[in-house]
Amino acid sequence: MNSSLRWRKFVSGFMLTMTGVCAVVAVSVLFLILGYLVYHGGTSISWSFFTKLPTPVGETGGGMANAIVGSAKLLLLASLFGVPIGFFGAIYLAEFSGGAIAFVVRYAADLLNGVPSIVIGIFAYSLVVLPFKHFSTLAGGFALGLMMIPITLRSTEEFLRAVPSTLREGAMALGASKSRTIATVIVPAAYRGILTAILLAFARVAGETAPLLFTAFGNRFWSPGWNQPTAALPEMIYRYAIAPYDDWHRQAWAAGLVLLGLILVVNIVARGILARGIAVPRS
């Protein structure tokens, strides 16, 4: 009996240690990635990286200024398109709607969330690029905005629902209309969570490349206005990484570092905002 118990105890200790190893391995991947990016990209980040345009093929010394601005424009458009739809749609779900419609809307949002990003690219191509006969920042922003909608919608709805009903009832007891209640009481009460949701959605689409392949298309120069093709950081990383030029490889690392740095910072800020706010149930 005792030796069997000893064996079982040994197995227990061993297996539990292994689970610890698994966790350590999983987490260390993150630091490995960061380490590689810092090591290879850190040395290539220079002032010219941020300010210069790409040089002709084979010549060294270019930068990604247009890609950085391009990404900023794309993300701005994406937010302008995706956030209002997600936000106001969530208000409808949380405050106004009944069972059936809410179910359909949520289902559609989940569906949209699960669509592979390359398929979103196909959709944006046929909806925006073909009719306008232009690859454009607009098309890219539309594609990215689509991807922001589900995340914003579901998270905002959750945080709105989590606002205690006492707040709602109190406002109504004071005679406020429903829309006024929402605007002045409920949304401010949930704003931390909503902001977190928006930031997380933002970080998610900042790194997307596939939808941009058929929409923003890429540009070696500055992209004027919103109706011309534009370069973007993720797309430059892709193009430079698979090319044979060493200078381009260095720039790809630098761009990767910048992009990942941006995404991680936004993620950390978003979670920090949430952590300091009302304790709301996590999804």
């Binding site: 079982r8 197995v11 227990s12 292994m18 689970t19 610890g20 190893v21 698994c22 966790a23 391995v25 999983a26 987490v27 991947v29 993150l30 990635i33 990016l37 739809i85 749609g89 409808y92 779900l93 405050e95 106004f96 709607s97 359909v104 809307v105 559609a108 949002a109 569906l111 949209l112 969330n113 592979p116 990003s117 390359i118 398929v119 979103i120 196909i122 191509y125 046929s126 589900p150 109504m172 429903k178 929402i182 790194g207 997307e208 490349t209 596939a210 392949l213 058929f214 993720p234 990383i237 892709y238 990484a241 690392w253 990767g256 992009l259 990942l260 995404i263 993620n267 950390i268 996590r282």
Partner: protein, 329 residues
């Protein structure tokens, strides 16, 4: 306050009794309408997307029918398009990814949920969440410059010399291929398995564990034989979620898979996935049949992820309710 003559807005949420006019003036009806339009637009956009996929692949669907799924040949010159190599590549890389990610992920989730003290568990989960935020193209970047050389110089020769008798590990070591893509995908989907499984495990009622321990089980036995089976549905759900993510991955895969429509028993062989071929060939598909075949591939991918996500969600919800519904004390 409202200045309507019909009713005076009364205290309490008895909206039904206020007239339409008063609600309109107070902005409630407008607010409802506007937000409804936004919510409806979500449904409309989704419907439009499905419609575009369906319409856009009509020619290919009618021409090839079900044969599309069983034809190996992808030949733009002779207008012969078959999805089999891409479905094969997508499935193989995903299976390899899961084979690596599931043990690692569940192991880590067990550690985080059962063993680690609250603070460590939360901190580690924080890092795992950050890992989930790393974009695909960055994984691709590391895949090209780090994983491929590692595969070609060390891992593939090592596997060949030890397990080379298996058809899985035969053939020249290119560095790119199914195995490389599977490994990169594994890293990408581990965070999803860990996050969801950890939550599911945390939701398992305490009395399950305590009952097992009271009966003399070791810590591990209690976890593995009682808690995990209890959470089995939700864990399966997390695996399906991870699978859905792996199926749709584009950039990281196309940078390391070799981009050749091949069906081979060897994991060292280069291959192709649905998402990768769309990314590479969409902008240049001349001719309607070519383009529509690619869109049909997109439709297939969409349906696959749709089904998997749906099943995953059902499993997770069912398991959470089982845990919650069973009561605590």
């Amino acid at each position: 306050m409202a200045t309507t003559t019909t009713t005076v807005p009364s205290a309490g949420p008895v909206a039904g009794s206020r007239s339409f006019l008063s609600r309109l003036i107070e902005g409630d009806e407008i607010a409802r309408l506007i937000t409804f339009l936004f919510a409806a637009s979500v449904v409309l956009i989704t419907l439009l997307l499905v419609f575009e996929l369906w319409q856009g692949s009509a020619l290919a669907r009618h021409k090839f029918g079900l044969n599309f799924f069983f034809t190996r040949v992808w030949d733009p010159i002779f207008d012969q398009f078959g999805a089999l190599p891409f479905i094969y590549g997508t499935l193989v890389t995903s299976v390899v990814a899961l084979a690596i990610a599931v043990p690692l992920g569940i192991g880590a989730a067990i550690f985080l949920a059962e063993l680690a003290p609250q603070k460590i568990s939360d901190t580690l989960q924080f890092f795992i969440d950050l890992l989930a935020a790393v974009p695909s193209v960055i994984y691709g970047l590391l895949g090209v410059f780090v994983v491929i050389p590692l595969m070609r110089q060390y891992l593939q020769p090592a596997l060949k010399s030890t397990l080379g008798f298996l058809p899985l590990f035969q053939g020249p070591a290119y560095g790119v291929g199914f195995l490389t893509a599977g490994i990169v995908l594994a890293i990408m989907v581990i965070p999803y398995i860990i996050s969801v499984s950890r939550e599911i495990l945390l939701a398992v009622p305490r009395d399950q564990r305590e009952a097992a321990l009271a009966l003399g089980a070791t810590r591990w036995e209690s976890t593995w034989k009682v808690v995990v089976p209890f959470a089995r549905g939700g864990i399966m759900g997390s695996i399906f979620l991870a699978l859905a993510r792996a199926l749709g991955e584009t950039m990281a895969v196309t940078m390391v898979i070799g981009n050749t429509p091949t069906i081979s028993a060897s994991l060292f062989s280069p291959g192709y996935s649905i998402a990768a071929v769309i990314a590479n060939e969409f902008t240049e598909a001349t001719g309607d049949l070519y383009l529509q075949s690619l869109i049909e591939l997109g439709l297939v991918l969409f349906l696959l992820t749709f089904i998997l996500n749906g099943v995953a969600r059902l499993l997770i919800v069912a398991t959470s309710q089982k845990g919650g519904g069973m009561g605590h004390a």
